[in-house]
Symmetry: C2
Subunit: 342 residues, 2 copies
DNA sequence: TTGAAAGCGCTAACAG
DNA sequence: CTGTTAGCGCTTTCAA
């Protein structure tokens, strides 16, 4: 079907080995021969088979990427960043979507392991043991997830996370200073390592500051879920809302606007990721900057340079915009709340 | 490194051929043997090499997808749809981003051609000739692009487009009936086939109806460009804006809101794609429904069933929401416009 | 029902 | 500098 190196060699009147050398730019070929081979190859529109090459060299020229949900902008922008960094080295990119299912994720790992050189697992839903097992097959880059401290770190594994500590601490402190005492947090996916991190920081900081924290689980961390949460939001419960990501926060904003509730006058809203283009949210959304693009850049670096250090982390910080303001209600509302007309 | 079929065969005490047959579920193996092989394979955590298999069978179990810009939600949702349909058949998915560059796109086609069974080209920036050449290498699915009528249709090429005619005609007619006579269109990428389609329909329909059409080129069809366009928008120029896609329309909406210009009171806005979740746009955006998900479904069907018909098309229609209303200004404003205080 | 052997397209020693 | 040869891991005749 397609042209093979054999046909090129024959047409150029050289051996297959020489053709191979010429094609791969080896300098152990006299220029005249090399030129001839290259010319013939071009004329025949020859493209080397990546399969065959991979079989013999043991390196495929592909990298793999696995996501829990490629529908989520967090991962698409991660993907875009990795692509632009890695694609330039003409490595191929193989992707897979586990749909949040650990079994499917592991099946993808196996399937891909035979056709990529390195595998990036984003927000992996696998167990630590499974991840270590995967690292036994091929070098793994863990993004947005870190193995438990008790796990022995396999040599061919690197991990990079978003360090939400600073950003979330700043967010809560910011709210506290504005007089907020009751905060609702719209949580992320149950199996998610990063959701656990955020929850942990939040719980700790709220505890330290004496801020009342309500954690609300949502189905998927997207606009629609945020809209629903914003619609159901009990205004007596909290004076501020912090969302797992900007999509959810955007949904909350939309719901509150529809309910005629002023943001930030009546309630403050904070998102996470700083993923929205300027001007998209109304009012402009305060957010914890924790870009998946930055995480993607880190992952790409780890993929491209196997010597890079094994642990990376993206710092976070709070970006204050319009959606947060001084708490309008009293600090201790339960005591002073005017009785509801019944 | 990894377990090979040879090790499985040895451990099971059978020949490689028998192991292969057992593993591939051939019925020409006595059940006892088959079981043994399977058990051993599982114990050894054996995963067949896709490379080796592909080399001999000539089929890789992968499909390829090439985009002009994976950053664009139009393509990510296309990708998500294809993935969910195609991924279930455990085919691998290889992606590439041409960054709008035809040369890079063709390089990707070549690179991928040796490791995928079929290739989906979305909004291809290649020439018709290059596309035909690509179809000579492997079966091609052209999405959001159609070869010129004068081109001989290669046998292994199928093409599917979004038929914008109905939707755009309805949009313009809708505006016309509301009294609008001057329309600004925010155009898509220069090299884009679909942008050309939209422009053509618009020009024709506006001509027929006697509607004044201003076409404004924008850099990239995203929110930021829409914001800029909306900021620069000359309100004397038009009473309605139609955008290449919803992202741009969203930007326009944001800009107008920032300028304090009422939509739809002062100006009507229509998007394209119906890609925004309900409630995201404010006011709710009238749009031409032309989902890239539907296009993705069509492409996936073509990929999965080579026998499927070669030409597909996604119908479009107008969805009227809040962002369009009766033109507030007079039909012939130039004559009645109050003089500016200078 | 199983095994031996050929070979997919390519690279990498090893000779010449 | 170039050709010969031996595989990479797998499937698939062809015999037994």
């Amino acid at each position: 079907m397609a042209t093979t190196i054999r046909q090129v060699a024959e047409a150029a009147g050289v051996s297959i080995a020489t053709a191979s050398r010429a094609l791969s730019g080896s300098d152990a070929v006299v220029p005249a021969t090399k030129d001839r081979v290259l010319r013939v190859a071009a004329a025949l529109d020859y493209t080397p088979s990546r399969l065959a090459r991979g079989l013999v060299t043991g390196t495929t020229g592909n990298i793999g990427l696995i996501f829990p949900d490629i529908t989520n902008p967090f991962y698409t922008s991660f993907l875009a960043e990795v692509e632009s960094l890695v694609g330039a080295h003409d490595l191929g990119i193989v992707i897979g979507d586990s749909h949040e299912d650990p079994d499917r994720e592991y099946a993808l790992v196996r399937q891909m392991s035979t056709q990529v050189d390195r595998l990036v697992l984003t927000s992996s839903r696998l167990t630590d043991e499974q991840i270590v097992a995967a690292a036994g097959r091929l070098p793994i880059v863990l993004a947005n997830r870190r193995l438990g401290d008790d796990m022995a770190m396999p040599p061919r594994l690197s991990q990079m996370v978003i360090d939400v500590d600073a950003g979330f601490t700043a967010a809560v402190t910011h709210l506290y200073k504005l007089g907020h005492r009751r905060l609702t947090y719209l949580d992320g996916p149950a199996r998610s390592w990063s959701a656990r991190q955020k929850r942990a920081v939040l719980t700790r900081v709220c505890g330290e500051l004496g801020l009342n924290l309500t954690i609300v689980g949502i189905e998927r961390p997207d606009f629609t879920a945020g809209l629903a949460a914003g619609t159901d939001l009990d205004l007596d419960q909290a004076t501020a809302v912090l969302a797992f990501n900007d999509q959810v926060a955007l949904g909350v904003l939309a719901a509150l606007r529809a309910r005629g509730i002023d943001v930030p006058g009546r309630i403050s809203v904070i998102g996470c990721d700083d993923s929205l283009p300027d001007g998209l949210a109304w009012p402009a959304l305060s957010t914890v900057d924790s870009s998946s693009r930055a995480l993607g850049a880190l992952a790409a670096a780890a993929v491209l340079d196997p010597e890079s250090k094994q642990n990376g982390s993206v710092p976070t910080r709070l970006i204050v915009r319009r959606s947060t303001a001084r708490a309008a209600v009293d600090l201790n509302p339960r005591e002073e709340k005017t009785p509801e007309p019944s």
